[in-house]
């Protein structure tokens, strides 16, 4: 039989779809309610705007930066901020503004990637632990306990020291050291929804474990996970900068904000401006993430308000 699908029929279908969409758009779903609450939170919106701006700066760094991040000019060392160099120059005569701008390309992606990996590994383990329960839960969580008996910062330092410098090693160090904490968050989130009736009914209609977990539990448990994701990125960015500051992460000439400060203590007397702006950028980024995270938490869990 030939397929009969005339333009007129397509138009009718389109119209129907549109009216359907219109009908549902007025309905309130939990995520729409959360978005409404988030929109009302001015601080959270401010955080979001700052983050968006930082991402734009990272994307258009080549156009925004007045100079390359590694262009040295030894005759212009440690100059204070002026019209020519808005944030001054560092001890190699590099333009700090340019380096700060290019720094968004380092800290933001690394922070996000660390957290994504930590959640991918830790979260999967936590979800399995919560879903299976019993002995599996016990074994997974006891292993996490052992990992957590080394404080995360110490663990990250240890891993970074053993793997050596570089972005990839830094990502590994931070992901592995924060993984146990992330597994706990996902486990707790899954446990809270596990006993609900809709999970029972999913099991009753024969949904596979995978489907139960991914289709029914995860979407309902996503609130606390998303909130914790945002805060984790903030912490990861702080850790990246701390490790780079002590020389265990990203090293020169890559313009990482923390490593830009590592020469700071020696320059404290002659050129304090060198340590002002990179630190300010870290703080603004982390602050934006924290503001957004706070807003997200309040929006997703209105009881806490």
């Amino acid at each position: 039989m030939a397929k009969l699908y005339t333009p007129a029929m397509a138009a009718v279908a389109k119209k129907r779809a549109r009216s359907k969409r219109k009908a549902t758009s007025g309905q309130s779903t939990p995520s729409r309610e959360a978005w409404k609450r988030l929109k009302r939170n001015r601080l959270a919106i401010a955080g979001m705007v700052i983050l968006a701006a930082l991402i734009l700066v990272a994307v258009f760094a080549d156009f925004l930066a007045p100079r390359g991040y590694d262009v040295q000019n030894l005759s212009e060392r440690n100059l204070p901020p002026s019209l020519k160099h808005l944030m001054g120059t560092d001890n190699y005569g590099r333009d700090i503004l340019s380096r700060v701008i290019y720094g968004t390309r380092v800290s933001l992606p690394i922070g996000f990637i660390c957290v994504i990996i930590a959640f991918a590994i830790g979260g999967t383990l936590g979800a399995i632990a919560a879903f299976k329960g019993g002995r599996t839960d016990n074994i997974i969580m006891r292993i996490m306990d052992i990992f957590q008996s080394i404080p995360p910062m110490l663990m990250a330092i240890a891993i970074a020291a053993s793997l050596g410098n570089g972005a990839l090693n830094l990502v590994l160090a931070i992901s592995i050291s924060t993984m146990p904490a992330r597994s706990r968050i996902v486990r707790a989130a899954i446990l809270t929804v596990k006993r609900n009736d809709y999970i029972e009914s999913a099991r009753a209609i024969g949904a596979s474990s995978r489907r139960q977990l991914l289709k029914y539990m995860l979407p309902n448990a996503i609130g606390p996970i998303l909130t914790s994701f945002t805060f984790s990125v903030a912490t990861a960015i702080l850790t990246v900068s701390s490790l780079s500051y002590i020389g265990l992460g990203i090293t020169a000439p890559t313009p990482e904000w923390g490593s830009m400060l590592s020469a700071g203590k020696e320059l404290l007397r002659q050129a304090p401006h060198v340590l002002l702006f990179p630190g300010l950028m870290i703080m603004v980024t982390v602050l934006a993430l924290n503001l957004f995270g706070d807003g997200l938490r309040d929006a997703l869990d209105p009881r806490l308000k």
């Binding site: 240890a158 053993s162 903030a234 400060l261 340590l275």
Partner: protein, 325 residues
């Protein structure tokens, strides 16, 4: 209760073995030959080989792993520093007190500042005090600790000359390091205390206390505080972990002779026994602290005690049912 304590103590055995295994694996995957670090790159091949044999580097991995664990567990032998040739344990123990003082002083200072801040914010929700202290707390969790340290150095020791920039020979030398390590915790604890107090003031027992005409200060401090502090105390372990991490960095910024500074120096020198030793010591100290905190926490919170008893009862009942069937 007694059973729980024994169980918790026995749990230390896998923790210690786990920490040692992690540290051993890390030292295995590290690049660079330890012999280079001891005798230098240009030493003759015979000297290098002799050193390899002496250190047991030619043994299979499994043998080295077992001998490492046996050495640490039975004799507390963490090896000898490549840099000085002295036992790592001695070098570490000489520096450990400073790290402990810095870590715990900053935890205590953070608790003293943050708890009243959080409580006040919750009691006067949405007031100027609330907004100001929450802004401060947010600032505390968002500022990079080492940058905060550099800024305070600039202000208090370079510009104002009130406090020394490094060294702890005077008590004033501790002020900036403790502030640096404490700042992140102040923010965290104040935020936790506020949200937990907000939850508590909505409870029935607070309404009851108010209804019977109790003074507000007693309602807040006696009825509210005790319950609101539970999440804060439950989180002290985490707080100590954060402080320990901060202390490592603070020691190198303020030139405090502690385990952290020792480790960072060892990392630069590729001096693995010292790095390993530092991690093992700090991780064990942290685990013991967590153990003590856990035991204290169970002793303090009557709900946990009750839960534990109830669990035992259920278990006892199950057992007897099982026997009956």
């Amino acid at each position: 209760m007694f059973k729980y304590i024994i169980k918790r103590l026995l749990w230390m055995i896998p923790v210690v073995l786990g920490v040692l295994s992690i540290v051993f694996i890390l030292s295995e995957i590290t690049s660079g030959d330890p012999v280079d670090a001891i005798v230098g790159y240009d030493a003759p091949i015979e000297v290098r080989e002799a050193k390899r044999e002496e250190l047991g580097l030619n043994d299979p991995v499994a043998v080295r792993f077992i001998s490492y664990i046996v050495k640490v567990v039975t004799r507390g032998d963490l090896g000898e520093s490549y840099a000085t040739g002295r036992p790592v344990l001695d070098e570490l123990l000489a520096r450990f007190p400073n790290t402990l003082i810095l870590t715990f002083a900053s935890v205590i200072v953070a608790l003293i500042i943050a708890i009243p801040l959080g409580l006040l914010s919750a009691v006067k929700q949405y007031s100027v005090i609330d907004n100001a202290s929450m802004a401060f707390a947010l600032f505390g969790v968002s500022i990079p600790q080492f940058w905060f340290a550099l800024l305070t150095l600039l202000l208090f020791s370079v510009k104002l000359r009130w406090l020394p920039a490094s060294g702890i020979d005077r008590l004033a030398g501790w002020v900036l390091p403790v502030a640096m390590v404490g700042i992140a915790n102040v923010g965290n604890i104040a935020r936790t205390a506020r949200s937990s107090m907000l939850e508590v003031v909505r409870q029935d027992y607070i309404r009851t206390a108010r209804a019977k005409g109790q003074k507000e200060i007693i309602v807040v401090v006696v009825h509210g505080l005790r319950n609101a502090l539970i999440p804060v105390i439950a989180n002290v372990g985490n707080t100590i972990g954060v402080s320990l991490g901060g202390a490592i960095i603070a020691e190198s910024i303020f030139s405090i002779s502690g385990v952290g500074q020792y480790m960072l120096l060892a990392i630069n020198q590729r001096n693995w026994p010292s790095i390993q030793g530092g991690i093992v010591l700090l991780a064990l100290a942290f685990s013991v602290t967590m153990l003590v905190m856990d035991l204290l926490y169970t002793a303090i919170d009557p709900r946990l005690r009750a839960e534990f008893k109830a669990k035992n009862k259920i278990r006892a009942k199950k057992n007897s049912d099982g026997e009956a069937a």
